[in-house]
Amino acid sequence: EDQVTQSPEALRLQEGESSSLNCSYTVSGLRGLFWYRQDPGKGPEFLFTLYSAGEEKEKERLKATLTKKESFLHITAPKPEDSATYLCAVQGTGGGSNYKLTFGKGTLLTVNP
């Protein structure tokens, strides 16, 4: 069974203070690893898909990286508007429901001005 663990559960940063969020996973064949951002009262918003170890993707102040066991979401010089819950999910090639996403519980990021 696919599993995803995110850490820390909550992170409080000062504006401009860079940090990283961790997503550890176990999956029977990785089809893709996904990062989403979720604001209160809204559905998850897609950020990145990573497919293989060593891959990196960037968008504004966010950079996602992938190894065979974990992914990191690096936040450089964050701003208050980056405050949200960041969700990590994997899609495996194993049995069960095809193309199912298995999510972690998320990291609640708060950036103080």
């Binding site: 998850p44 918003e45 193309y99």
Partner: protein
Amino acid sequence: SAVISQKPSRDICQRGTSLTIQCQVDSQVTMMFWYRQQPGQSLTLIATANQGSEATYESGFVIDKFPISRPNLTFSTLTVSNMSPEDSSIYLCSVSRAKEETQYFGPGTRLLVL
């Protein structure tokens, strides 16, 4: 990405009743999914909505409790039947244009069962 809408956006229901949630997409998509997000828990897949055939349910979810319809490539419904307070949750639909592509989520339906 597709524009996805859900109705209702929120509801308060009495135990023992049923609620049908609608998911509408602005363009045809191959895959539609229904997820549940309970407080403090991970997003969990309930079922894959299949166009023209019965939905595929995940372990722990059954058709009698969560009947799903998908009459075409842009619309699906999820019914939460015979509700109890434990069904209080956010219900989300997601879509992808092809089986292997990224899933995009709707805004969610916030359900409170009293």
